[in-house]
Symmetry: C2
Subunit: 327 residues, 2 copies
């Protein structure tokens, strides 16, 4: 980690790309729409520039992103056998820990490039095209198309749409600005079928998710004059609905988006005497400090922790701690 | 209703506005974000042009749109006492039936103007600025700002955002094109606080809605190899959750946005022997013909009907009819 964070210019970034022939592109572990969308869009750009591209990731591409044609080209980093390459480019990875199994390849790269938008980026590359003012890494890949004077091909439009819309929760939060929507406009101009991909990426839910949503909402409770809400999922819920705790991903937001709620949690009994908490808040509150208090961590408005104790006791402790913070 | 649908040009529309001094603006009954957003944005434009504006609607402005500053200025049409005015302008109203209690005022207007984007518009005005290629009537109001060479004031940005984002389900469907997102970009440029209004208009849910969501999802069932899904809300559900059938608005979409589902319904027992059905489909299916079969109506992908019979019998009939259509 360098102390001085001087971002590389887009010209230097493009120059480094042009000077390389064999390039590894890497998404972050537990990949999302921004990192995979950016990777696939970048791969298409580089291939049009005549490069040999290998795309890798620590984890498999999640099922919801299989709507993106060509996702199968993303190899597991642990299975990547390439040993001679000119450039390693990490996309949407704030630090080298986010590379997972790709770290050894990164370490032996003759030239290391980082393209990212996280404010927490540690500038761990030789070239760091980092801009924390954009909403998504996909915005930076879009700019690279412009810098390379390359039209966005129609088949690339879903990649950049996935990147831009995922990191903004389908245009609901994040640092969207004038440029952001000019880029979306240009994707439409280039032929993006926005309704098809919006449905697939943002409207569709898995059946297991809605089963758990139903049970979690049935447990919805309020304390502190309605300023705090919480929901619970117990081992019994998972057993009766034949689902797994993993399917509850994202469910906590349903407790937050209710009138008057300022902070909320979802308590999930992942096994006996083990309770996972997802915490959410709206400004100016802070759930990161609550999570940290219980040995967890995260962001100011979205954090998490795990308590090793009986379910009722853990929920009671969290209610108490959250009330101190909000009431 | 005229047979020849020749839309008026934006220049003729603006000219008619410039020639009037006292103007009535009218939203459609059961108003939504597009009609109210367009009305408030239009009101601000006309006032900047020095006009005296009266804003009316058959129904009150719904609660979720109270986030839009100045909504209180919209009067109930039945209470509007104005008798001398130069121009009546209907916004987002496809035909004169959509004016409700404002129809008598429309009928006696010296000049009648219609600004709308519905393909079903009947061209019932003297000036019909109708363009069915845009996603929202708000897009046309935006164009009028441009034609009048008026900058979008920051306080108007939430109105146009409400219009554009409501009619597209927060950018999920509808006729969004290059111009649509250029307009959104310009709203950001003009200072739109998009995350604030996105949360208020698209993320927030009422507590009664999530109570019913929980119960409806608990009833979620599939037939026809999972191609048809359905959910039920009975009188008992409303009684136990202390909610009313009105709070179930929009809930049916949760049954549609599941993998493999091509058609779905929500059956709501509004009172004994009276069952309301909300029907949804994805292309190329047609629920309008199913609704019509049962004496209801609506659009190809979203329709409804009411059956006067015991709940179980009504659900059984609907399952049978839908299966014939899909399986």
């Amino acid at each position: 980690m360098t102390n001085r964070k001087n971002p590389s210019s887009i010209q230097d970034t493009l120059k480094a790309i042009m000077g390389a022939q064999r390039i590894i592109l890497c998404a972050h572990l537990q990949p999302d729409g921004d990192t995979i969308g950016s990777l696939l869009a970048m791969k298409a750009l580089l291939e049009r520039l005549g490069k040999e591209v290998t795309a890798i990731c620590h984890d498999p591409v999640p099922k919801n992103l299989h709507i993106l044609n060509g996702w199968e080209a993303v190899q597991l980093a642990s299975e990547c056998t390439i040993d001679r390459f000119d450039l390693f480019c990490a996309l949407d990875c704030s630090d080298s820990d986010r590379l997972g199994d790709a770290l050894p390849l990164f370490n032996k790269a003759p030239l290391k490039m980082v393209i990212d938008h996280h404010a927490s980026n540690t500038f761990y590359g030789d070239i760091n095209y980092v801009d924390s003012k954009v909403a998504a890494t996909g915005n930076l890949v879009f700019r690279l198309y412009e810098a390379a004077e390359m039209e966005i091909p129609i088949e690339v439009t879903p990649y950049l749409y996935a990147a831009l819309s995922s990191d903004t929760g389908n245009f609901a939060f994040g640092q969207m600005d004038e440029e952001f929507f000019v880029q979306i406009s240009n994707l439409l101009k280039a032929g993006l079928d926005i309704t098809r991909y919006s449905r697939a990426l943002h409207l569709m839910k898995e059946v297991d998710f809605v089963k758990l949503l139903s049970r979690a909402l049935a447990s919805l409770s309020f304390i502190c004059d309605g300023k705090i809400s919480y929901m619970c999922l117990t081992q019994q819920d998972f057993k009766e609905s034949e689902t797994a705790p993993e399917s509850a991903e994202g469910l906590v937001n349903y407790a937050l988006n209710l009138p008057g709620v300022q902070m909320c949690f979802l308590a999930t009994e992942t096994r006996e005497n083990r309770v996972k908490f997802n915490l959410r808040a709206i400004q100016p509150h802070n759930v990161a400090e609550i999570a940290t208090h219980f040995g967890g961590g995260g962001h100011v408005l979205a954090a998490g922790c795990t308590l090793e104790m009986p379910f009722e006791k853990a929920v009671s402790l969290m209610k108490e701690r959250m009330s101190q913070s909000v009431c």
